[in-house]
Symmetry: C2
Subunit: 260 residues, 2 copies
């Protein structure tokens, strides 16, 4: 498995149980997606939460009730088996990590596939903008902010952001290129001062790894799909299933289609 692997090859190895690793860097150019599975009773509230908070929660596909097929972004795929690793939550508590959620499937479940920052990171790299955590071979640093998402029914969450340091002369181009990928978190939500959005210490991210910020650089913050996971922890549904962090659904959709 490498950057040249095709999405359906990766999904087949996940299905066979022979690939259970993180997906960053695989199948470059194809959209990877966050997964959230919820009972139908919460599906409207969750879809509306995403609709109201499109920067952290850009919806790419929603399966029909009871169907595990994301027929818009990957016809024929099965989200129960085609990701490398999943987390199962009951009433907001992590109860199991697994590589196959078929045993948990029910005919009232709905799966949501949500855009991810890998798509716009590729776009940044393609125009020569460095992405620090990729250079340092780390997970992107992520932080809870003091910005509240617009709540919807049971779902509420602080906006979680990812941070990428950029040289001052790269910032405008980074805004321009990422704003085009509005189904992959789009433009930054903040540039410059972490404290303005409630982040006290860049060296202590809430998720992921800290990265180096050089003197001629400024921190740039984008909305992050982890926001959906904090919303689920607060809502405490009787059942929720997500991908394990970094173990995304690799779809057949081309990154550049997220601009349209």
């Amino acid at each position: 498995m490498d950057s040249y692997s095709l999405p359906h090859e990766i999904r087949q190895l996940c299905k066979d149980g022979s690939f259970t690793s993180p997906t960053p860097g695989l199948a470059l150019g194809f959209v990877q997606a966050n997964l959230v599975v919820l009972p139908y009773s919460l599906a409207f509230e969750f879809l509306l939460f995403c609709q109201r908070n499109p920067k952290p929660c850009p919806v790419l596909d929603v399966t029909d009730v009871g169907s595990p097929e994301p027929k818009i972004i990957s016809p024929g795929a099965d989200i129960r088996t085609d990701l490398p690793r999943y987390r199962v939550f009951r009433y907001g508590e992590l109860v199991e990590e697994t590589t196959d959620i078929t045993p948990f499937w029910r005919n009232d479940l709905v799966a949501f596939l949500i855009g991810c920052s890998f798509s716009f990171e590729n776009a940044m790299l393609n125009i020569g903008l460095p992405v620090r955590h990729i250079e340092e071979q780390k997970n992107v640093p992520m932080y809870k902010t003091d910005i509240e998402c617009m709540p919807t029914g049971a779902f509420s969450s602080p906006l979680v952001v990812s941070m990428r340091p950029l040289r001052f002369n790269h910032v405008v181009r980074a805004v321009e290129v990422t704003s085009q990928y509005y189904k992959a978190h789009g433009s930054p939500i903040h540039i410059g001062n972490p404290e303005t959005i409630g982040i006290k210490n860049l060296e202590k991210p809430d998720y992921g790894d800290a990265v180096k910020l050089y003197d001629d650089e400024i921190p740039v913050f984008w909305a992050c799909g982890v926001t959906t996971q904090t919303a689920i922890l607060r809502a405490k549904p009787e059942l929720a299933i997500t991908h394990s962090p970094g173990h995304m659904f690799v779809s057949d959709l081309r990154d550049d289609l997220l601009m349209f």
Copy 2:
């Protein structure tokens, strides 16, 4: 009431019952929206239908269950009284046209506000592109196509389109400017040959009025919000309420915010 009226002034006159006319041309620069009200039992399917068909059905706001306040696009407004005219449907049949839907309101209803082409028409006019039905003081011509929207539960519909004739040297600019307004139907869905999308006779629109197409012009087609109404007629919900054609909700949102 004219193009300089402010949205809240128009809504107040609707509430008082003293304004019951169509809204095109009023409060120029502010977003006007289609209204669809449905019971909560159909809300997920309808929201997902819109999510899957964003060009005809760009969702701008969805009220909380039982609330008549579109708190994102017009905090404090009341969709039960603030539009000039409504249509009430039971099981897909028009049963009443009214200027106040308060008597029909229930605590399980959800209101959807959906983007409308007036926003991108203003943008076209602002860069010097003519809009024929405005020149001719007519309603825009609209046609059912043979393109099926992606169905969702009870909701399905042919894609309904609006048509604007343009000179050949205006077509590219029209694509460029309207594509920016992706929450107001965005770029065209077809340029050139009506028969390719199942339209037999441009002079006989399914809704609205025919307009003149000159020899040096080509017909350009955009997805149209009337698609939501045909979807409701097919779904036959026990109750549905919409605005009357042309009698839109005039919101506090600026047109240009539909680009972000």
